[in-house]
Symmetry: C2
Subunit: 315 residues, 2 copies
């Protein structure tokens, strides 16, 4: 920076000012400074700037996994919106491990971030105390309905489960199943299950639960569905914890010759692109805000009314 100043024949302070608030520098010098920057290929040192101003343009985002369309879409949307606002994302990946989350929170906080986005409400006690000590904005996303640490952006998975249940009940289904990725990995799937189970119970129906051993895996989903139906042939409808599981279920139905939705209705979750192309088109749930989550505009929480509209009935 001092080199730039020298070449432009101004003081380093002026260069710094030009970089931060260009319109407070006279146009004559601004031009000289810009020329010098270009000539020297000067790149400011963000860490020095961050240290001096004790701020940074970093926003940490911690998700359980990025190889899952929910979160990767969220990340992409966040990145796009925050980049235009001048921020950079530092992405952490917990792999569904609370201790890893704590470690990530620690390492992200050590960057003096401008904000931190977490997934869900479940954090270790130590994480919570770390976050309490920092006074940056904290956003908990992808869930809703509990008191958050600071801001909450999301929707209630419990309500989502209820709504799907009510939808099925309305269509005459009573004997149902919930086919899910592992609850330990996906605690929000568990919330959907609980809401689903409660609402089905209220309507006097039954729910059979089947959890995959690991991550979303279409082959295992198919196997699990087949065995479930063997055990519970009365089952009429299956709510799957995501569209990939539902895809696996649909292929298994075809393999077994079970027509959808006559023999078995299938409901997914996520409204992924391909769900409109399956045979028959998949009934699924579009998570609110999937397309346009813009956190900088503030909290966007969803009530059940909006949620209802999100059930894409296709089957």
């Amino acid at each position: 920076m001092s080199e730039v100043a020298q070449l432009a024949d101004v003081s380093p302070s002026t260069v710094s000012l030009y970089l931060r608030r260009p319109d407070e520098v006279s146009s004559r010098r601004a031009e000289r400074i810009q020329t010098a920057i270009d000539r020297l290929g000067y790149l400011p040192n963000t860490m020095a700037g961050g240290l001096a101003s004790s701020r940074s343009n970093i926003i940490g985002v911690i998700v359980p996994t990025i190889t899952f369309s929910f979160f990767s879409e969220t990340l992409e949307t966040l990145e796009k919106n925050l980049r235009t606002a001048g921020y950079q994302l530092l992405i952490g990946n917990t792999e569904f491990d609370a201790s890893r989350e704590e470690e990530l929170i620690r390492s992200i906080l050590s960057w003096n971030p401008a904000g931190l986005v977490l997934t869900g409400f479940s954090h270790s006690r130590k994480s919570v105390s770390l976050l309490a000590k920092s006074d940056i904005p904290i956003i908990e996303m992808w869930d809703y309905g509990q008191e958050g640490l600071d801001m909450v952006v999301g929707f209630s998975h419990h309500t989502c489960g209820r709504l799907v249940a009510e939808h099925l009940v309305r269509h005459g289904y009573r004997h149902t199943a919930f086919l899910s990725t592992n609850f330990q990995r996906d605690i929000r799937a568990r919330e959907r299950y609980l809401g689903f189970r409660d609402a089905i119970a209220d309507a006097g129906g039954s729910v059979v639960l089947r959890e995959l051993t690991g991550r979303s895996n279409t082959a295992e989903a198919g196997d699990l569905l087949r065995h479930m139906v063997d055990d519970h042939p009365e089952t009429q409808a299956v709510f799957c914890s995501n569209d990939m599981v539902a895809l696996g279920a649909m292929f298994e139905c075809r393999r077994q010759g079970w027509s959808i939705p006559e023999r078995l209705a299938i409901v997914g979750f996520g409204n992924q692109d391909f769900t409109g192309s399956t045979i028959p088109p998949m009934t699924t749930v579009e998570p609110p805000g999937k397309r346009s989550a813009n956190i900088s505009r503030g909290c966007c929480s969803t009530d059940s009314r909006e949620m209802t509209r999100q059930i894409r009935q296709r089957g």
Copy 2:
């Protein structure tokens, strides 16, 4: 840090040393320091450390999109491997825009990163000169066969296209099509197409090309396939630029009553999880290193022999 030092009754230098190389501090003081850190909830300021040492544990990764299983899996693998080595990923998303890539390179370099991972060989002239000036390791991934800026990790998409073509020719197919996401967005799909086209031409066959207008979209893939077959009913096999496009194609075949592979053979790319569950199981290509890309171990480039094994014939 000075507070920690005071509480532990040592000098700040010792605290710093303890944090960086704990085994060079006597166990007596190490214990006192750790206690003080815990008591005060001390978090080191990474930016100050980075400034002082003019290093950082940041590794920038620039990808065209993260909502695409190829890249999100790569990111996840990278993140996992690099985190254990003490690095943090700063992820940038070009949205297939070269000028955005340049901007991202600039902003990542301003963090004094320990390394930078780029996707592919195509960078703006200015980006190249920026990168040339920095002396950090640069990795270009997801392609192979050209001279890179520094290190290259990937495989040749051209060869991949050839190999799929040869595979199809061996099975007696001559009249083929390439159904692709938009080449402007996915220049590697274009490389696969070129390799595919050349090899089919060598064998005396024909290739019809169809590009989607936007990103991978199963519905559009289906429509495009239908129209393509209307125009070219002689087509016997379709190589799709990724598994999602292939999935759309498979559903369209079923809709039209075209049996796979008798009426139309379909080949995907990516070996995504669901490809084993489709009916019939999808023939696809597993990108080498998909599962275990570990860049810290050095270059893993793939020759055609290895590539051949990666074609999962299932159909």
